[in-house]
């Protein structure tokens, strides 16, 4: 029962990752792509635990899952900070007049 539960769960996770992969490829902005990568990385931690179930080495694969979740979190934080500080090039040439699309209230 345990093996079949793991196999069905992993296969359905893999199938459900396809729409998120579509969002990564066709996302209008870069933030959509980062969001999709973040979701897929979190699910990869789950899939690592499932693979550990199938290999009967869960104690080892759980450590991999912890490391993967940590790297995923650090990657998301770093990329969001990077986008936060980035100014487009033509706005950098003329400082002080950074146009906003709409005034923030």
């Amino acid at each position: 029962m345990k093996e079949w539960f793991a196999i069905i769960m992993g296969a359905s996770l893999l199938v459900l990752m396809i729409p998120i992969l579509y969002r990564i490829i066709a996302g209008p902005t870069g933030f959509d792509r980062i969001l999709g990568v973040n979701v897929i990385g979190t699910k990869t931690a789950v899939i690592l635990v499932i693979i550990g179930t199938l290999f009967d080495r869960v104690d080892m694969f759980v450590d991999f899952a912890i490391a993967y979740a940590l790297l995923n979190f650090v990657g998301a934080i770093v990329v969001s900070r990077y986008f936060n500080r980035t100014v487009p090039l033509q706005e950098m040439e003329k400082p002080k007049s950074r146009p906003r699309r709409r005034a923030r209230t």
Binding site: M1, K2, F5, A6, M9, S12, L13, L16, M17, I18, P19, I20, Y22, R23, P28, T29, F31, D32, I34, L35, G36, N38, V39, T42, K43, A45, V46, V49, I50, T53, V58, D59, V62, D63, A65, I66, A69, L70, N72, F73, A76, I77, S80, R81, F83, N84, T86, R100, R101, R102
Partner: protein, 140 residues
């Protein structure tokens, strides 16, 4: 019939204690509910019109589905009360706690980055315009 399934599962899976069947059934149910939540995340990521609404779907559904699935697997892994089994469950609960803290944090950081990068949410006018253009294209 349920007793028949339970007896076979108990006979093959765990030594001779029918109480473990209940634990495993709870684990399987938690995993299935997690899959349903992840289905919601996937559908929301495709169908929502805006970055912020997509982030709404992704942040909530992703956190809850990951926690439910990992908790379910932690329960399914339990077979006896030995030290290694408890340690395994504790490690999986550690991942659950870590994801419970970090996924909302990264969602918050991404949302803040998008807001300071002048990514504006769609208003009612934009939605009406988009709906009208879609209706016009489908009428052709």
């Amino acid at each position: 019939m349920i007793e028949c399934i339970a007896s076979t599962v108990v006979a093959t899976e765990s030594a001779n204690n029918p109480g473990w069947f209940l634990v495993h059934a709870v684990g399987v149910a938690m995993g299935t509910v997690g899959l349903v939540f992840f289905l919601g995340t996937a559908v929301g990521m495709v169908r929502f019109p805006d970055f912020y609404t997509r982030m709404h779907a992704a942040g909530k559904g992703d956190t809850l589905s990951t926690m439910l699935m990992l908790g379910g697997f932690g329960l399914v892994m339990m077979e006896d009360f030995s030290l290694g089994s408890w340690l395994l469950l504790l490690k999986i609960l550690g991942i659950v706690l870590f994801i419970f803290i970090t996924t909302p944090t990264s969602s918050h950081a991404l949302m803040r980055a998008a807001f300071e990068d002048d990514e504006m949410p769609l208003g009612e006018n934009d939605l009406e315009k988009r709906r009208r253009s879609r209706r016009g294209s489908s009428a052709k």
